[in-house]
């Protein structure tokens, strides 16, 4: 079954991460890369990306049949999505195991619609 793991956090988390001393920042990045590598090797990760900051996001929505383009993410909250991974595993417990191993903050686990 396919799940999407969303790597979430607050704006404060993001800023704190960005302002880490360079060696700590590098160590954090390396841990996340290792996580991706390890699970890609075992075939559990079928896709995923790290996202740039919310200040770079743009939202398109429709109002009265017209596309409206606005600055920023759709959800106006303090929480942001830093990245995501699409995983193919047996069941929720296996997806949760991966989420628990993620080295960089909270993870939302969403089951994907199977077609």
């Amino acid at each position: 079954m396919k799940y999407v793991l969303l790597f979430v956090g607050t704006m404060e988390d993001q800023k704190r991460f960005e302002n880490l001393p360079p060696e700590q920042l590098a160590a954090g990045m390396k841990a996340a890369e290792q996580w991706f590598e390890e699970y890609s090797r075992s075939g559990k990760i079928v896709g995923g990306e790290q996202l740039k900051g919310p200040e770079t996001a743009t939202t398109v929505r429709f109002s009265e049949g017209r596309a409206i383009v606005t600055d920023g993410p759709f959800i106006e909250s303090k929480e942001i999505i830093g990245g995501f991974a699409v995983v193919q595993v047996k069941d929720l417990d296996e997806a949760l195991e991966m989420a628990k191993a993620w080295p960089a903050g909270p993870v939302e686990v969403w089951p994907a619609v199977e077609r």
Partner: protein, 390 residues
Amino acid sequence: MFREEAAKLTGAMVRLIGNFDIAEEVVQDSLLAALENWPVHGIPDNPGAWLMTAARRRAIDVLRRDQRYAEKVALLERSIVPSDPAEADDRLRLIFTCCHPALAQEAQVALTLRAVAGFTTQEIAAAFLVSETTMAQRIVRAKRKIVEANIPYRVPEGPDLIPRVDAVLAVLYLMFNEGYLSRGPQVASRRDLAEDAMWLTSLVARLLPDQAEVLGLIVLMRLHLARSRARFDADGEIVLLPDQDRTLWDSAAIAQAVEVLDRATSLASPGPYQQQAAIAAVHSEARTWQETDWAQIVALYDTLLRITDTPVIRLNRAVAVSHVAGPRVALGEVNDLAISLGGYHLFHATRAELLDELGETALAREARQRALELCQNPAERSLLERKLRR
């Protein structure tokens, strides 16, 4: 098939109850229950076992109304533990699925009652004081999540098992408390949550015989149930610990429970259930209210607070403190909990008792009135109303 099962069942029930009339009555009732239930929920995998469980429960309900059958009730309660290991395994898998941490705790409880203990949605709604619609939605949503998110139907293995046990114990303890508090004649016809919770806990104990906290929870439940006959008087009114007729306590069951607690303690893995069981044991072993070892109870509460510090535990500790250091000291400690427990009826009821002891009748009355406004349990309400009328 029904007739064949009925004969087998009646035979078994007569053996257990020793009274043919009652045996036949409960078997008829369980067949009726099957006629209502099976067309809706489908025929269970093991119809004989389903009927047997239904008949035993019905027998417990019927016999409990009659004090003369106390021994038989105890026998039936013991025999509820399924003899078929496959059925016990099924139940365990179900409990762990229903208590999966991906489900909200209120959904875990509801689902466990529905799927594992076989309660109707209506019964669960009544136990948790919500409408049947709300409860039905809660259960449907939880079931849907199990399917949609693919929550596995299994008992976790190896290192994954222990972290999952806490959630299961928490649900079973909630279930027990709900059943224990609402015990009493006005709900005597309802199946007993408390006994089901204890049975399910014993299944978990069979899976994890060396987990001290599982044993601790079983002891805690046993100590409460061993004293439950003294909790209501002939008119069905609640009787508080100081006024209970302690000769009604089941001293053999208490002694057995304390033995299990010693075994749990010897595993050297302390936890909140063992600690609460130890407190219940001190109460259970006191021959009179006056002989209660309050200093030891306060000490046990202090240890419990170091393991898990909650306002409700602090409130209970304050009651023990009042017997050691007097009501004024205790009232000070209780008042400190006002912010976190202002919406809890027992906070106000405890204040009322302490204020009474200090001769502050008007303030006590006010506090008791507030407790009554917040209390929804019928037996507890009746107790508060009686005290207000005094």
